[in-house]
Symmetry: C2
Subunit: 397 residues, 2 copies
Amino acid sequence: MVRLERRTVRDLRRGNRAVLLRTLYFTGPTSRHELSGLTGLSAASVSNVTGDLIAENVIVEAGLVESDGGRPRVLLRVNPAFGYVIGVDVGETHVHVEQFDLDMNELAKAEYTLRPGRHDVDLVVRHILDGIDTVLTSSGTDPAEVMGVGIGVPGIVESGPEALIHAQTFGWDAVPLGALLRAGTPLPLYVDNGAKTMGQAELWFGSGRGSRHAIVVLIGTGVGASIITDGLTYRGVNSSAGEWGHTKVAVGGRACRCGARGCLEAYIGAGSILERAGLSAEMAREQATLAELVRSGDPVIDETIDYLGAGLANLINLFNPERIVIGGWAGHLLGRHELPKIKKAVLENSLSQPFETASIVLGRLGPDAVALGAATLVVEEFLLGKAFSHRQQPAAI
Amino acid sequence: MVRLERRTVRDLRRGNRAVLLRTLYFTGPTSRHELSGLTGLSAASVSNVTGDLIAENVIVEAGLVESDGGRPRVLLRVNPAFGYVIGVDVGETHVHVEQFDLDMNELAKAEYTLRPGRHDVDLVVRHILDGIDTVLTSSGTDPAEVMGVGIGVPGIVESGPEALIHAQTFGWDAVPLGALLRAGTPLPLYVDNGAKTMGQAELWFGSGRGSRHAIVVLIGTGVGASIITDGLTYRGVNSSAGEWGHTKVAVGGRACRCGARGCLEAYIGAGSILERAGLSAEMAREQATLAELVRSGDPVIDETIDYLGAGLANLINLFNPERIVIGGWAGHLLGRHELPKIKKAVLENSLSQPFETASIVLGRLGPDAVALGAATLVVEEFLLGKAFSHRQQPAAI
DNA sequence: ATGCCTTATTTCACGGCCTCATCTAACATG
DNA sequence: CATGTTAGATGAGGCCGTGAAATAAGGCAT
């Protein structure tokens, strides 16, 4: 059932302000005149709203552009120093904490290594809190200028003030990461699944840019996906949507580490590929070993591509996206060498109408995309000016 | 990328008017006072907007309710005779045309039988056009009072003025049904996939009522799904989203009539079940034969349930819905007898967090739901007052 | 009957918003 | 330095939703 909400004349302004701010953010330096054309707002309104935004220091003037014969245009842009955002990537083997300005320039970074298999909650929490301190100190930023901290974690994140995390591979069962961090910092926190944060990074700054219905898949040791519908990350009712890795592509097939059988991850997850090749690779050498398999054209890779093709085709048949972005280190490895084969496998497994409109591309951002994307959770909130409404967001804690 | 749109003070009124109208439509007779509480609008605004709506005859007063000691409340309701809508169900063996008032009371009906395998486009078009005339004549309705005709068809419907239809099972490849109908009637037309129209019927009036994220699956000879996100049918970029029947649950498995292998439909579609049981049933006796299989507890049914469980679990893992509604004649047959087994199969194939929040229920509406749902496409347009914006609708042709 | 009490709905002044038309600013050109 | 051109600002006007006050429409006790 659609939930429409009443609006007052003030919501109007908030909304139009958000329209302007978002346009400015994604278009870059733009004159008031152009903004009027881009947003549909009258020149008068653009003038009013930008006036407010400048007074609040949210946007700043950024040079002139002469126009032939007339008054030059004043370019406006979002003030990158209006505030700062922090993104955290909690991975299987590391915790990365990065600070950005609003232009997403990286200002500072702190990295911590986790011993594989040792995902002590308190240790992770300490790394995150320490990392926040470290980056702020190293960049000389006043904590009051930090708009929030976005955190990308593996597994399912239940939205809510506790941000309960269920991550089987970490041995985390209902870990209240939000509450634990809340005890250590007053900054606004946004916790979300790492595949979703990476997806938002690719959507905003990478290969997904400009698309409205897209899917970003993350293939590493684990397999996940970020589903973007109508330009926003789709989260479902409990924000666990997008668990692509545990969809079944072979009823009664290989056992997966999640306990079920026939999961996609049991075929295309990096560890599973190695297992199927008869290699019991150490975590540490996983990447090099897989790279060698791909390079040597091992038949297990072809089989993997068949499963990947089916998995991607399922997404195409169900979501009818305009773009599919392949990310994650194993995804990059496969995609870099075998994209034509992958596309062929998808073609064989999907209906032709949706297949034809879905372009399949490699992710453009590196492994840091998880932290970058986590930071964009904070920026999203800033751009929507708290005026967003109907779609579930990972609310600040 | 989110597309926010500028709004003027007039959009505000259109939006709030839609809020009020929708509340009134789904809540039933309601006083102005209650409406104020339900919508959040001030009493003054409710008074203004309802005044307009009454003047336009869109809503009418509907009796009084005394309140203890004070002025009695005047109940308001949508005027069921403000306009009429027509829903068409184009199925494998029939064309049904039904006329409803805005309360979705069926006022007239026309039915045509199609010989299986003979899906001549012109014949279908003639049936539809003839059906429209027939129901209007039999109910004595002036065509000028008809708000539109919704048409549910099998296969993929490309949105656009032509409404190109791709339905392999009909042998329809890019049939411009919209254009063909347009030549025969001036009424606004809304063409959409039948699974989607049935889904909207269950969402509005059946087992999906009140849910925001739901999936309605249609299991008959063919297998489809309607995906409801944020209360609206999700269509994707080309409105082909929801092709669940051709997602792969067994890489390299049984051949499907779509040409691929391992499709869900090749295991749980009614015809496929019979085939797997070694019965080459005639279309005409399909239903009775399948019923017999289910009743006798044939092992092929247990196998079917395994595949159905995997298919539903995939939807749960990907969409994290609050409800799954099982519809379609074969779906009802299986669900009526084997719902506990189905739930167990889903449990075994889905992650526990999303599983726990998804209730799995049987559809409540009968086989007429496709036509009813098609008619709701027109009502949807009416309720949104053309003020909807960001979500793709099957635009009127 | 009458006056008071309670609750529902309407009216009205007000402040906020966007837009159109008009005005001013800031440049180039000759 | 006057003129032309384009960018941006300003102000009147028309809508909108809201709160407060007014009015409507009953019940109830006297």
